[in-house]
C-alpha cells in the first residue's frame, strides 16, 4: 500500500502535467501549488474544518460520501480556475514568464497555507481527512484496498481519456503549439485558447491528484508542497516518455518503485548508511535524469506516431 497508492497518485499528477508540458510545451514550474490547492480544498471541505481543528468544528461533519465527491470536484475546479487565472496574463507573453509566474505562485500558496493558521491549521497539519466509503469499510487493510480500487479506476479512466485526446484534432492542435507556436498561428490556430484549455485541464487534474493524496494520507501539511514536488513530476514525465500517456504512467510506477525500494532495503543496511540513503536516493535521481536527457530524451516510451486509420 505504501507503494501502489502513492505511485498511482503520482501517475495521475504526471498525466495532468503531461497535457501541459508533454503535449503543449507549457512549462509549469508550480505543479506543487495545484496539488496543494487540491489537497487543502478537499481536506477542508471533507472534514468541515475551516480553521483550528481543535476549536472550530463545522456542522458538516466528516465522512459523508456525497461531500467527498463535491469536495473532489471543488478541488479540481479551484485548481483549474487558479491555473487559468495565472495563465491568462502570462500565456500571451514569452514562454518563460509562465514558468516564473507559476514558480512564484507555488511558493505563495505554500506560505499562505503555512501562515494562515486560523484557516488551514498551518504547520500543525490538517488531519482526520476521510477516505472514500469510510462509513462502510473499516479502517486498516480494507480501507487501503478500497483506496487502491478507487485511485486505480480514476487513473485508468484518465489514461484512456488522454490516449483518446492525443488522437483528436484538439490534441493535434496542442502538439502544433508545442512544436512551433508562431507556425500554428499562421496556420489558423487560436493558440491562446488552446494553451489556456490545456493549462486549465492539466491544473484541474493536478488538483484531483492533490485531493486523492489528502484522502489517502488523511493528514496533510503545507511543506509537502515544496518545489521538489514539482521537480518529481517532471522527472516522472522525462523518465516515462513526454507526450505518451502510457509512458508517463509507467514512469510514475518505475520512479515510485525506486523510492519505495530504497526505503525497503533500509532495514537491512548498517544504520550509518541507512540514515544517508535518502540523500543517495536524490543524487541517483539527479544522475538518472541527466543520463536520460543525454541519451534517451524521448523517455522509456516515445510519443506515439500518428498513423491515419480510415
Amino acid at each position: 500500500m505504501s507503494y501502489v497508492v502513492p505511485a498511482t497518485i503520482l501517475a495521475i499528477l504526471a498525466l495532468g502535467l503531461d497535457i501541459q508540458w508533454g503535449k503543449t510545451g507549457l512549462f509549469n514550474a508550480g505543479v506543487a501549488a495545484f496539488i496543494g490547492i487540491g489537497a487543502y480544498t478537499f481536506g477542508m471541505l471533507s472534514t468541515g474544518q475551516f480553521g483550528d481543528p481543535l476549536f472550530h468544528w463545522s456542522h458538516w461533519g466528516p465522512g459523508q460520501p456525497i461531500d467527498l465527491i463535491v469536495a473532489v470536484l471543488a478541488a479540481m475546479g479551484l485548481a483549474g480556475v487558479l491555473g487559468a487565472l495565472v495563465a491568462i496574463p502570462t500565456l500571451r507573453l514569452r514562454a518563460d514568464y509562465l514558468a516564473i509566474a507559476t514558480l512564484a505562485l507555488a511558493e505563495i500558496v505554500r506560505l499562505v497555507l503555512k501562515n494562515e493558521r486560523s484557516f488551514t491549521g498551518g504547520d500543525q497539519t490538517l488531519a482526520f481527512i476521510p477516505r472514500p466509503f469510510a462509513g462502510i469499510v473499516p479502517p486498516g487493510w480494507a480501507s487501503d484496498g478500497v483506496f487502491v480500487l478507487v485511485a486505480g479506476a480514476i487513473a485508468l479512466t484518465l489514461l484512456f481519456m488522454m490516449l483518446y485526446l492525443s488522437r483528436t484534432p484538439w490534441g493535434r492542435a496542442l502538439k502544433a503549439v508545442r512544436e512551433d507556436e508562431e507556425a500554428a498561428q499562421a496556420l489558423g490556430k487560436n493558440t491562446f485558447i488552446l494553451k489556456l484549455g490545456a493549462f486549465g485541464i492539466g491544473c484541474a487534474i493536478m488538483g484531483l491528484a492533490g485531493a486523492l493524496m489528502a484522502s489517502f494520507q488523511q493528514v496533510i501539511a503545507p511543506d509537502q508542497f515544496v518545489p521538489y514536488t514539482t521537480f518529481i513530476a517532471y522527472v516522472v514525465i522525462i523518465l516515462g516518455g513526454s507526450g505518451n500517456p502510457k509512458g508517463v504512467v509507467l514512469g510514475a510506477y518505475v520512479f515510485s518503485l525506486f523510492g519505495w525500494g530504497t526505503q525497503q532495503i533500509k532495514a537491512y543496511l548498517p544504520s550509518a548508511f541507512a540514515l544517508r540513503i535518502d540523500f543517495v536516493n536524490q543524487i541517483v535521481i539527479g544522475i538518472l535524469l541527466v543520463l536520460f536527457i543525454l541519451f534517451r530524451p524521448e523517455g522509456i516510451m516515445r510519443e506515439e506516431k500518428y498513423l491515419a486509420r480510415k
Binding site: L165, T168, P169, W170, R172, A173, K175, A176, E179, D180, E182, A183, A184, Q185, A186, L187, G188, K189, N190, T191, L194, G197, E303, K305, Y306, L307, A308, K310
Partner: protein, 259 residues
C-alpha cells in the same frame, strides 16, 4: 497597355502600412494592391521589408499604422487565426515544419475551424468530428500527391529534405482552403525540375481562382511566372509593372546595387 493602372478591383489593398522594430523602419508607409486571380511578384533588395510586410498582412507582426484590406474588409488588427479564416495564409521563408508531427498531421492541423479542436465538439459532436477527420485525411493525401509528397505522409516532418520542407509549407497553406496565398520565397533551395513542377501547380491553382503574392529572388522565376511585379525598396513601394517594364526600369537596378 504598359503602365496602365489595374482596372479590376483589387483583392488585397495595403494602404500606408508601417512596421518598426525599435528604430528600424522595416516597412515605412508601404502601399500596394494585388488583383484577384493573379500571380503577383514582390521583389526588392535584401532588407527592403518584403518579409516584414507579409508578416504584417497576416497579423503575425501587427502593423504600427496603415490599413490592410482584403476583399474590401479590414484585416489589420485581427489576430492571425481570424485572418486565415478570412482566406489569407502565408508560408514561411525558412520552413517552419512541425517537426515531431507527421507530414499528414502537418497538413491536417492547417486551416481554420477544424471540428474537434474545441473540446465541446469532441463531447457533443463526435460523429461530425470523425467524419471530418476522414475528409481531412483524404484531402491531405490529395494535396500531398499534388505537390509530389505523396508517399511521405507518415514520415516525421523533421526527416524531410530542405526542398521537401518547402513543398510541405506550400501544401499546408493549400490545406487551409485559402483565397489568397502569400509565398515567401517558395522555390529557394528547391531543385529546378521540382521548381517548374511547383510553379505549374501554382499556375493551375491560379486558373482555378486562387491569388498568389510571392516574394522571390530568382529573377527567372519572377519574370516568367508573374504577370505583375511590385518592387519594394527601403520599406515602401518603389515601382510596379509588367515583367518587361520592370526589367527596363533603371530605378530597379539602382535599388539592387544599393544606390
Amino acid at each position: 497597355m504598359p503602365g496602365s493602372e489595374p482596372t479590376i478591383a483589387p483583392i488585397l489593398e495595403v494602404r500606408d502600412v508601417s512596421k518598426s522594430f525599435g528604430g528600424l523602419h522595416a516597412v515605412d508607409g508601404c502601399s500596394l494592391t494585388v488583383r484577384p486571380q493573379t500571380i503577383t511578384g514582390l521583389i526588392g533588395p535584401n532588407g527592403a521589408g518584403k518579409s516584414t510586410l507579409f508578416n504584417a498582412i497576416v497579423g503575425l507582426y501587427p502593423p504600427d499604422g496603415g490599413e490592410v484590406l482584403f476583399d474590401g474588409r479590414r484585416l489589420d488588427g485581427l489576430p492571425p487565426y481570424e485572418i486565415v479564416r478570412r482566406g489569407v495564409i502565408k508560408t514561411f521563408q525558412i520552413p517552419r515544419e512541425l517537426r515531431n508531427m507527421t507530414v499528414l498531421e502537418n497538413l491536417m492541423v492547417s486551416g481554420p475551424s477544424v471540428a474537434g479542436e474545441r473540446l465541446l465538439d469532441l463531447a457533443f459532436r463526435p460523429r461530425a468530428v470523425r467524419r471530418q477527420e476522414r475528409e481531412l485525411i483524404d484531402r491531405a493525401e490529395h494535396v500531398l500527391s499534388l505537390v509530389g509528397l505523396g508517399p511521405l505522409g507518415d514520415e516525421y516532418a523533421k526527416n524531410l529534405s530542405g526542398g521537401q520542407k518547402k513543398l510541405l509549407e506550400l501544401s499546408r497553406a493549400l490545406m487551409a482552403r485559402p483565397k489568397m496565398v502569400l509565398l515567401d520565397e517558395p522555390v529557394a533551395g528547391v531543385n529546378p525540375v521540382l521548381t517548374n513542377h511547383l510553379l505549374d501547380v501554382i499556375e493551375g491553382l491560379r486558373q482555378r481562382g486562387l491569388t498568389f503574392f510571392l516574394i522571390e529572388h530568382d529573377m527567372d522565376v519572377v519574370m516568367k511566372r508573374c504577370e505583375w511585379i511590385i518592387v519594394m525598396h527601403q520599406g515602401r513601394t518603389l515601382t510596379e509593372g509588367t515583367p518587361r517594364e520592370i526589367k527596363a526600369n533603371p530605378a530597379v537596378i539602382e535599388s539592387y546595387l544599393g544606390a
